[in-house]
């Protein structure tokens, strides 16, 4: 793996989540949003909305459980069809203003 520069490292989502610049309440809200009963997280990354997550489920997804989460900016559901009849990929984009520096979550400590 090539050595990362400190600039690239500092821009990565893992670093931005780890460094305590995001306030506890922002972290708690984010965790509450991304954990959806019955859905396994398979991909978790920063995107234009804030954070985009791919979930997998082997059951027909309950959309009310997803829409009850606040700040859902995008939702896509892909049935796997003949590849795997019982599997669904659910792609959710959450608005997380704090990650874009647009709200007051930065610079608390």
């Amino acid at each position: 793996m090539p050595k990362l520069t400190s600039k690239v490292l500092s821009q990565r989502l893992s670093t931005r989540l780890a460094n305590f610049n995001l306030a506890d309440d922002v972290i708690n809200k984010l965790a509450t949003r991304v954990l959806i009963d019955g859905l396994d997280i398979r991909r978790f990354d920063i995107c234009i909305y804030g954070i985009c997550i791919d979930y997998y489920t082997d059951r027909i997804p309950k959309l009310d459980g997803i829409f009850s989460k606040v700040d859902v900016a995008r939702l896509e559901i892909f049935p796997y069809g003949i590849i795997d009849w019982d599997r669904f990929l659910i792609r959710v984009g959450y608005s997380v203003d704090e990650l874009e520096g647009r709200a007051g979550g930065l610079g608390r400590r």
Binding site: M1, R12, A18, F20, D24, L30, L35, D37, G38, D45
Partner: protein, 365 residues
């Protein structure tokens, strides 16, 4: 009486394998500030090899398939090689966690016989060296990981983080993967053993747990598929949905009919911990001794049958209560540590209950 199982295909507890965590010694070349087993250079207690070797066939017959060596520093256990060979001869996979500070000669003669090895880290150099009490610990452990990886060994890193070391994790992960680590197992430092006396260690809040969990999710994406990143924290609701993993243990509580006397111990108690004093404990090194399964010195199939018949009920009640608490719980749980802490709270209470209660009727099932 020999144990039988009709459920060998099912998970036992929230683990992929049926594991014996073996602590053959508390002797260690370090005395880490946060060590849950309070190991160190002055801790001379160690298991005799003979009773250990004699226990291996019985543990295998009871359904366990992996021996995970820990300590103390396992490499300081003089009869480590015959122990590893004996475990293999009985059909176990053998893995080891080490601090990575030993000489290549001692390390290599053991590592070549192992099925997996992990080197422990506590953060980047300043945090790691501070907790380990040694200025070159990080550099030497890193060098060992790199050397083993270069030699073709699939090496993992076991990362325990104090709350204040969470910001180290992304750079530490890059460092370790760059050296050749194939897997990273990340967990919060358990509030056990010497960690209880660390004045400088703030307890993890719910937000700290969430932060660590989210960082691990992000790291898995950033590091790609060639590296597996695992966090010991899990969403409480997700664990509740997987509660069938404890179906064998809780069977007679749910159905009122099952008899666990003939059930393999590995279906009921997983992981099983063997301490350097010869105690067989469920789940964690610091699990309250009230729940001890047996003693290595007197271990026999009859003793285990007696445990299943007479003493398993307390563990059933505790696990049942812990699972029931997950149902309405938000956020994340470090499950095995959660059960260990609950064992401390419940040991006295369960003793009182058992004096007048039927086995296996604890609430929460």
């Amino acid at each position: 009486m020999s144990a039988t199982s009709t459920q060998t295909e099912m998970r036992s507890g929230f683990l992929p394998d049926r594991i014996v965590h073996l602590h053959p010694t508390r002797l260690c070349n370090l005395a880490c500030l946060h060590c849950y087993s309070e190991s160190g250079p002055r801790q001379k207690t160690a298991l005799d090899l003979d009773p250990l070797q004699q226990a291996l066939p019985l543990l295998k017959a009871e359904g366990y398939n992996q021996i995970s060596l820990s300590g103390g520093e396992p490499l300081m256990y003089p009869p480590l090689l015959p122990l590893v060979d004996g475990a293999h001869a009985n059909g176990f996979r053998v893995t080891m966690i080490t601090n990575g500070l030993f000489t290549p000669k001692r390390m290599d003669e053991v590592v070549s016989r192992l099925d997996g090895i992990a080197i422990s880290f506590d953060g980047l150099a300043p945090a790691h060296n501070h907790l380990r009490g040694r200025a070159d610990a990080f550099e030497r452990s890193s060098a060992t990981l790199a050397r083993l990886a270069d030699g073709g060994q699939p090496v993992a890193a076991a990362i325990s983080l104090t709350r204040d070391a969470i910001p180290d994790l992304p750079e530490l992960a890059d460092h370790l993967v760059g050296l050749g680590a194939k897997a990273l197992q990340v967990r919060p430092v358990a509030l056990a053993g010497r960690a209880r006396t660390m004045t400088e260690m703030p307890v993890y809040s719910a937000a700290d747990q969430a932060r660590l969990y989210l960082v691990v999710l992000a790291l898995q994406e950033e590091l790609g598929d060639q590296v597996r990143v695992h966090c010991d924290l899990a969403p409480a609701r997700s664990l509740w949905q997987q509660r069938d993993a404890y179906a064998a243990l809780l069977a007679n509580c749910v159905q009122g009919t099952a008899d666990q006397t003939n059930q393999m111990l590995a279906d009921l108690v997983n992981p099983l911990v063997i301490t350097e004093t010869g105690s067989l404990k469920p789940i964690a090194y610091d699990f309250n001794s009230h729940f001890d399964v047996a003693s290595l010195e007197t271990l026999s199939s009859e003793q285990l049958a007696h445990y299943k018949q007479q003493n398993l009920a307390d563990l059933q009640a505790l696990i049942g209560r812990a699972l029931a608490q997950l149902q309405g719980k938000q956020g994340l749980v470090d499950w095995f540590d959660y059960c260990a802490r609950l064992s401390e709270e419940n040991s006295g209470q369960q003793s009182r209950m058992n004096s007048g209660a039927k086995p296996g009727t604890g609430d929460g099932h």
